[in-house]
């Protein structure tokens, strides 16, 4: 009867929501909006790290910018009581990601690190993931991109350059996570320690508004940030369970 038991055990496993009972890591980013100034150092850091193309004025005018992260700006009030609120927006690596289910060819899925992974090679360019993403953080290669020589010498060899017809997005700098994991393994450690890996945006943030780490480690910086009473997620009502947690901006008259 072990066959049946085995079948039932597997059935239960495969019927469990989320499938992974336990992620190996649960990479999480927190964004303290009270620290964020919207200076966009992160945007350039991301562009440099991830080989995001330079698209040109015309493409941007047609709404085809490719930077994987952006600062959204929202004005509140009218002159003179006017405020500008900025919020960095990048892939939220949702645990219940709408984009993942819609891909017909499994080009996007959830990996063991709790990351929303995008397989460029597998993508056939239906763009439905971009439609399903409520955060609008998936960017499509409408054409092949070109780097005027010798700008291409800057390209990061750890990250591929994407061809036309492929969707791309923030990866939480998965190449850095990989390297940190390899380094940990080389050191004979089982796990990556807090602070050993930072995506390019987090690394560069001059106001230290971004914090990155493993949520499963209760001692990590992000775990402490998650306990903050200001923590919230954007578009929480959509129940996407993002891995990017924002800390509310503090305003004197709020």
């Amino acid at each position: 009867m072990s066959l049946i038991d085995d079948f039932l055990a597997r059935w239960r496993e495969y019927r469990a929501p989320g499938y992974y009972e336990e992620f190996d890591y649960h990479w999480t980013m927190t964004v303290d909006l009270d620290r964020c100034t919207g200076c966009e150092a992160c945007v350039t850091a991301c562009q440099a790290e991830n080989n995001t193309p330079i698209v040109g004025e015309e493409a941007i005018a047609r709404g085809r910018h490719m930077q994987w992260m952006r600062i959204e700006r929202y004005w509140e009030g009218e002159y003179p009581d006017v405020k500008l609120r900025a919020i960095p927006m990048f892939c939220q690596h949702c645990d219940a990601a709408p984009c993942e289910t819609v891909c017909p060819v499994s080009a996007t899925y959830h990996n063991q690190d709790g990351l929303n992974a995008q397989i460029y090679n597998r993508c056939i360019g239906t763009r439905s993931c971009a439609v399903y993403c409520p955060y609008e953080v998936r960017y499509f290669n409408y054409n092949n991109h070109h780097w005027d020589a010798p700008l291409e010498q800057q390209l990061n060899p750890d990250v591929s350059v994407r061809e036309k017809g492929v969707m791309e997005k923030c990866t939480f700098c998965i190449q850095r996570i990989r390297q940190a994991k390899d380094a940990a393994k080389d050191d004979g450690r089982r796990r990556v320690q807090d602070g050993e890996v930072q995506p390019a945006c987090v690394q560069t943030c001059p106001t230290e508004a971004l914090v990155f780490g493993d949520r499963k480690d209760p001692e990590s910086g992000v775990s402490q940030m998650l306990g903050n009473e200001r923590a919230y997620t954007v578009l929480e009502e959509l129940n996407t369970d993002p891995s990017v947690v924002y800390l509310k901006k503090v305003e004197a008259d709020a």
Partner: protein, 449 residues
């Protein structure tokens, strides 16, 4: 001009075989034009787009879907009346179906083919489109059956298979009839197509059963196909797309535009294939009634959509609605309302329903309106989503417009080829509506005179 009841069995064979065999220069000119437009407006821009990337179209960051997908829904929708209506009428044993169902089914088939082409045009890397099929491979990966797009793949494959089989099954006796009257390559072709059909009582019996089963299977299939197409949108959480009403909305819209499409095709066949005595005012009258009913249901669902959107008082829903009704694309919205909700009210008049040219104009207007509807679903909803910072406007490019025109030409090309291979009016079913050589009038004739 002969009256319907004067037609003899032999005349039917003669007329229809003539429509297949006798081809005038006008046909060749039309076919040549259609093929040329298909190549120039569809394939040439498409190849350019393959070379350049989807950027040849006007899609952009918030609006990643555009006219290609709108065309896809449109063609799928147009496919909906043919086989579905044919099945429903077959099961309910409607006599008036018999003269028109073949071409209606052909419309289904060809719009599905064009829709499949639109998928190829739509995706970023069509050269990998086969990855959406489960076939043995070395990539250690099969498609994702949780995806609404995979539902589409399955549904459209099934629907295309089902429709092809249905139209073919219904044509076997006719192929046999044509086989006997043709020579040369045509004869050989029809020998193969007719499968050696003789018309024995056993064959007729088996065909009758199989045909009915197919009809029973295809009705729920057709309903599911457009429901599934609607779920491509409704399964997302885009404001104004994430709606439970979308499946019936799409199905009704599909049948609506498909029925209008049948009217157009009927008009053309009647006029240019000399089928005046087979396709009559009765057909237009009945189709007109159907159109009227569908237009009212369609209008109702549209009103419900606006009402629920407004009643939700949700910022995202409201903005989406406002943008659709009064935004950049508002003229298109009101054009759609005019063509699909207001103009069809003319169908209340029997005189209108039985006038051929006004019906043609109305049917084309309805399909323009329905195309607009599909365009607005894609264009306005994606432009106004949750994060206002990511709002944008999408304007189709010349390549897209050209491909749309080309896809219509492609449909026409396929249809033109069809009318020379398939008897576009069913020989044996038309005969069923005629008095048998040793009988009086049929029931149907009595009812209509």
């Amino acid at each position: 001009m002969r009256r319907h009841e004067d037609i003899k069995f032999a005349d039917v064979n003669n007329d229809i075989v003539r429509s297949l065999v006798e081809t005038g220069p006008r046909y060749y000119v039309t076919l040549a034009i259609a093929v040329l437009i298909t190549i120039a407006c569809f394939f040439f821009p498409w190849f350019y787009q393959l070379y350049y990337g989807i950027g040849a179209a006007g899609m952009n960051h918030p609006t990643v879907w555009g006219t290609y997908l709108a065309s896809f829904i449109f063609w799928i929708g147009l496919s909906h009346s043919g086989t579905l209506l044919s099945c429903v009428l077959h099961i309910t044993n409607s006599e008036w179906r018999k003269a028109m169902y073949r071409s209606a089914e052909a419309m289904t088939l060809f719009s599905l083919m064009v829709a499949a082409m639109m998928v190829m045009v739509h995706v970023g890397r069509p050269w990998f489109i086969h990855w959406a099929l489960p076939y043995p491979n070395q990539m250690e990966l099969w498609p994702n059956f949780r995806s609404p797009l995979m539902f589409d793949v399955m549904a459209i494959t099934t629907y295309l298979t089902g429709s092809s089989i249905f139209i073919y099954m219904g044509s076997i006796p006719d192929f046999a009839a044509v086989r006997d009257r043709t020579t040369g390559w045509r004869h050989h072709m029809y020998v193969l197509l007719s499968l050696g059909w003789r018309g024995t009582d056993t064959e007729w019996h088996r065909l009758g059963w199989a045909y009915t089963f197919l009809a029973v299977l295809i009705i729920p299939l057709a309903v599911s196909v457009h429901s599934i197409v609607s779920w491509d949108f409704a399964m997302s959480i885009v404001p104004s797309l994430h709606q439970t009403i979308f499946a019936p909305y799409f199905v009704v819209g599909a049948i609506y535009s498909g029925t209008a499409g049948i009217v157009t095709v009927m008009f053309v066949l009647r006029k240019y294939m000399n089928f005046e005595h087979y396709i009559t005012k009765v057909h237009f009258d009945n189709l007109g009634k159907l159109l009227l009913a569908l237009s009212l249901i369609w209008t109702y669902i549209n009103v419900v959509e606006v009402f629920t959107g407004w009643y939700s008082n949700d910022s995202a829903e409201l903005e989406s609605l406002r943008y659709k009704l009064f935004g950049f694309y508002a003229p298109l919205y009101w054009e759609m309302i005019l063509f699909c909700a207001v103009a069809p009210l003319l169908l209340i008049s029997k005189r209108f329903r039985t006038s051929f040219v006004p019906m043609l104009i109305l049917s084309i207007a309805i399909n323009i309106g329905m195309y607009t509807e599909r365009f607005l679903i894609v264009g306005t909803s994606l432009s106004r989503q949750y994060l206002p910072d990511s709002w944008g406007v999408y304007v189709p490019s010349l390549v897209e417009i050209s491909i749309l025109v080309g896809s219509i030409a492609m449909f026409c090309t396929l249809f033109l080829i069809f009318v020379k291979i398939f008897p576009s009016v069913s020989i044996y079913e038309v005969k069923e509506t005629l008095p048998a050589p040793d009988e009086g009038k049929t029931q149907w004739q009595e009812a209509t005179h």
